[in-house]
């Protein structure tokens, strides 16, 4: 496998770009693996990579029903941040952000991670006090956070709607400078290539259609490419978790499938070099500009349960309203594309990285619409859980039975209603 370097780019530039090798193999499924990960999204691929890299488990397969990153991995608005408040969330996302900071080097693949700051606009003194509490807690526990007054915000992001008669007048911002964006496809390809290099079999067009059990264990997976036996199995299938869970005959889950839409505009000259979020009271909107110039943005989920990977018009209208109320200069910009992804919305808005009622089945699920930033950390700890059969302290609370035990992790304080958790 060629290592990518400035030299290899230069050499191939001079020789007609004909010297590149394929980035990962396309093997036939083996009859048996030590670990099989279902789901070739970012979480599944990262898990396979860290299993091989950190734990020396190399007889690993990732089964993906479509193509790599064709699920939410390639559909999200690419925001990476660690400005969480709840103990448990905070340290997990901070570890993930630390992994992002070195990911391109680690994978020898440019994931275009750009730490351009995440700016949450504040619209009321109450919101500012809450942000001060959250961001001070982040600073006390080893992350970064700042509060900007209006003068500073106007200097940094001049073209927001600062009019006093705006629908939600802006009074300042809470900022995490180390946060930013990354190129989501590159993250999938980078993890796939690095995992493949360590011997992991990445099997695309391989849909899991059945789960074979022998009492309290999984013995094999039925797939569209034949039966695959495994000593250990991990599910990382984003919005399809309940379906896999039912194939394993395990009943209900604290999860509902909902869809979220995202939008990209025609490319513009540089306009916004941060991630801006507008979202206290009545609206929810986030926007950044991609390196190609497109304005990438999104808002709320569609409010009702759905497995359809397509969205509905009322949210298009809501999002467009939010966009023009905060950045009126976007009013005449054309929308290039718009799409949606199906997500696991959990009952408290927090994820599951945990063991299951079956002794060799592990679950990675419930990322709501914030799992992109989590990808490296999620893969790191899920691999550790599978390899060592016990959770690290950092993820010990991401269990399925936290509701029974009354230790929910409800970052938003929205209660057991999945559609309300972002």
């Amino acid at each position: 496998m060629t290592r990518y370097s400035a030299w290899s780019v230069f050499k191939n530039g001079l020789t007609g770009q004909r010297g590149w090798e394929r980035a990962w193999r396309d093997p036939e499924p083996k009859a048996h693996y030590d670990v099989v990960i279902v789901g070739g999204g970012l979480h599944g691929l990262a898990t396979a990579y860290y299993l091989a890299k950190n734990h020396g488990v190399r007889n690993v397969a990732v089964l993906e029903k479509g193509w790599l990153g064709g699920g939410n991995g390639g559909r999200n608005t690419t925001i990476v941040r660690s400005n969480y408040f709840m103990p448990g969330n905070r340290d997990f996302y901070e570890h993930s952000l630390t992994l992002w900071e070195n990911l391109s080097h680690e994978l020898n693949y440019n994931v275009m991670f750009s730490q351009r700051a995440h700016i949450s606009l504040l619209h009321s003194p109450g919101a500012r006090d809450a942000a001060a509490r959250r961001y001070n807690t982040m600073r006390l526990t080893g992350s970064d956070g700042e509060l900007w007054d209006l003068a500073r915000l106007k200097r940094e992001v001049p073209h927001l709607n600062y009019a006093p008669d705006a629908r939600f007048p802006i009074i300042g911002a809470a900022v995490q400078p180390r946060a930013g964006t990354a190129r989501h496809d590159a993250v999938a390809w980078g993890y796939a290539r690095a995992a493949d290099q360590l011997g992991v079999d990445i099997l695309q067009n391989c849909e899991v259609t059945g789960v074979r059990r022998d009492g309290g264990r999984v013995t094999a997976l039925e797939t569209s490419r034949g039966e695959v036996r495994a000593d250990k199995v991990g599910f990382a299938v984003a919005g399809n978790t309940s379906r896999l869970w039912q194939m394993a005959d395990l009943g209900g889950l604290p999860i509902e499938s909902h869809k979220l839409q995202a939008f990209v505009s025609e490319p513009l000259k540089p306009l916004l070099d941060q991630v801006v979020v507008f979202g206290v009271g009545g609206a929810h909107f986030y926007i950044s500009q991609s390196d190609k110039g497109g304005m990438v943005f999104g808002g709320d989920i569609d409010w009702y349960k759905s497995y359809a990977q397509r969205g509905n018009l009322p949210i298009v209208q809501d999002t467009a309203e939010a966009a023009t109320s905060i950045l009126p200069c976007l009013g005449r910009v054309r929308l290039l594309r718009h799409w949606s992804g199906v997500m696991d919305m959990s009952m408290d808005g927090s994820p599951f990285i945990c063991k299951t009622p079956l002794s060799n089945l592990y679950l990675n699920a419930g990322w709501n619409y914030g799992g992109f930033k989590a990808s490296p950390g999620s893969g790191w700890y899920f691999a550790d859980l599978i390899a060592n059969d016990r959770p690290d302290d950092t993820i010990a609370h991401f269990t399925l039975n936290r509701f029974e035990r009354g230790v929910i992790i409800d970052e938003r304080g929205a209660g057991p209603d999945p559609k309300l958790h972002g």
Partner: protein, 94 residues
Amino acid sequence: MLRINCPFCGERDHSEFTYGGDASIRYPALDAPAEVWHDAVFLRDNVRGLQRETWHHVSGCRQWLVVERDTLTHEIVSVTAAHPGVAAALEGEQ
């Protein structure tokens, strides 16, 4: 765009409604064991296909409705009033 055929108001855009959630959930008696409450409040079958769910016609007649909808295709098969007495009365009218 979903259109919901409200039995009181006729066919309307779903933006007039708010979504209530899974209508198959039956809340247990107040003194039921904690596990039973846990299952009702937190666990979902999360059906991919036909599900019964509640919608509130909040910008219309303000009635709660039970809608039978396919969560994969968004096809709506039936809409009835959520209150069994009201549903029965409407049924009798027809």
